[in-house]
Amino acid sequence: MILNKVKIENFRILRDVEIEFSSDNKKPLTILRAQNESGKTTMLRALQWGLFGKYALPKSGRNYRLYHLDLNVGDEIKVSVELDFTHVWSESPLLKTTAKKESSYVLKRSVFEKVMKNDDFERKEESVELLEVTPNGYSPVANPVDRLKSILGSNLKDLFFTDGDDALRFIESADGNSARRGHVKKAIKDMLSFEVIKDSIEHVKIIERSLRQESTSITSGDAQKMLAVLDKLEDSMEDRQVAIDDLVDQKDETDRDIRKIEIRIDDILEKGDKEELKKRKDALKRNEDQIDNNIKNRYTELSKFYYGDIIGGVLCKEKIDITYNFLVDLKNKGVFPKASLPFLKELLANEDDCICGRPLKKGTKHYTKIEKMIKEEAENDELGDRITQLRGISKDYLMQKTKKIIFDNESEELITNIIEQKTNQEDLQVEIKKVSNEIDSIPDSNLKELRKQSKDLTETRTSLNKQISRLRFEQDEDKKDYRYTKTQYDAILKKEDRTKKILSKINAAQDIANVLKDTYALVENEEVPKVSENLNNLFLTIIKATDGDKNLGLIQKAEVNRDYDIEVFGPKNRKYDNKDLNGASRRALTLSFVMSLAKVSEFVAPNVIDTPFGMMDEIVKESCLQTLIKECHQVILFLTRAEINDIEDLLDKNAGSFHTITNSAHYPSKNLVHDNNSQDKISLICKCSHREYCNLCELKGDSSSGMKKRATK
């Protein structure tokens, strides 16, 4: 359906308004420029009421007056909306149309409303007239409401007639998550014909069962038993399928939960795994302790060099050298050791002759002399021993020159080792400090708990998979049994002429049900993902989050999930709460959903949108408008002057019709320059474009803004 023209009379502040819409393919835009409180939303309501009646009004019109507030109690007024539109009937067996045909219609809806006391009103029954334009003039359509439903569909008013705020119900709802999902689900299921196919399946199955019961009454006992078995198997298969679907849903839910937890774990790990860091710190500390022990041991080893003989030899080497040489000299001179003493003692003991030939008899002079010599020698012996000992010791020291080398080498090695270990220790201490700082910088998290949850969920998923496999196996077995029993049952029925016809009907019903079931599954499995895919493409395009195949920025993906939630994701598949999106993104998301659903459903209708560009910056506004022009068959936009800013050139190029709506009551307080019956407080319509102003719509500053003054009568 494409709108051509609307005439509105006495609909709230729209006293007498006529607007022509652009139906030009090349210029599909119609722009209605209006400041706030000029009648934009009222215009949207008037269009919705004209097409869909009172059910399109807030609260089905119960407390929604249509009369102008200036009317007095007791006044009665006729409210009417007249719409010219064109509809192309495609050739479709689903609509019983046999050829493509374009029809033009005039729809007239009117109602009388009487003003009562206390702001109340009395509304009479609406009158609807639908005229088809024929070569011979206007021809009334016999059942206008049914014809309108065929043309408009039941969800058109919610999807195609939106104001920026109202459309947000698809992504955020004050009534909660289920209400939000409900809006999305209803829109998708309605636009993709889910319900009608589902109801068809149900009704065909009811009839199939009634045919079976009919056959039971006229068939043999065996056939009846088989029929009972078939019914039982069918029930069992259905129950099992429900159980499988339920388990698959649970598994999908579990998969999603696992993914969410994994993302959280990755997120935490990206900041740092506190547990792992603590383990690392402990390991480093253990290393450091080990090195500390090693250093202590090395010190102990080193200290041994400083209290043993080696250090003495090393420190006194020069003196010992002199001593030793002196003592060697003495020895060489025979000063010691005294080797003659034992010999002399022996001579005296034996009283033999002396070696000099003199007799050594006791009492002789020579004996006494020798005796004296022995005595003197004996007195010197202790000193000699000591000197001999000293020579030996000094010799030992001097002989142990290697000890000096050992001392030098080993002490150097130990000191080098200690320095190395100290360096390692310092490095480790720096590392420990660094890890400690990292640990301190990571907030306490429940990583351990998350890992446990992930493990538990993975076990749950495994268990669900097993249950699904088992049920599918049992389902396959049931199907085999069903086919076998059915073949036997059919064979029996075929033998009985009376039942042949019923059997044929049962089979026909089964064939129809199978086609419908497959169709439903295909629509659900292929068409819904298409809505999601289109939504993603349009949304990313509008918010300029994509450059060809490359995703840019913080928003990377949008989708409609299996639960009919519209979700937005950032980098690393991180899900955003839709409330966290900025106003422009939220509007872009809802518009993308509407456009994608319209595209997949192939429904042709005007997109009438009230203030779509609120909160959008120049770039997003421009890309949103370009997307609307590209994706929609007809676009009717109600824009404020602020929304028009920056997209004037695009409007020049793509808009085929312009109007400006002005509230006469805006003189003079809201910058309206001319007084056009300001007491009436009505919406005034002129044909000024976004680059023009006239005596009806001129605002202060227009004449100096570069806009052109349009001449009026």
């Binding site: 009839i207 089979n507 129809i512 086609v515």
Partner: protein, 70 residues
């Protein structure tokens, strides 16, 4: 609902042409099956807008298809 969806018509058509039928699988029967399914969807769409004797209508469509199979 948007019933003039070419895609939906195509899905039904494809299913009727390729499904393993219980009755018989002749071209003629498949054409009748397609007509029956689309007719049921049409009748259901009318029923959704305004209550009709939908079960009787579907029963009649099934009977017609069953006759076409003989």
């Amino acid at each position: 609902m948007a019933l003039d969806r070419k895609k939906l018509v195509q899905i039904v058509k494809d299913k009727c042409a390729n499904i393993e039928t219980v009755n018989n699988s002749t071209e003629k029967y498949r054409t009748e099956l397609y007509a029956a399914v689309t007719d049921i969807i049409y009748q259901e769409s009318l029923h959704q807008e305004k209550a009709t004797k939908i079960q009787q209508k579907i029963k009649d469509i099934i009977s017609r298809l069953s006759e076409a199979s003989n």
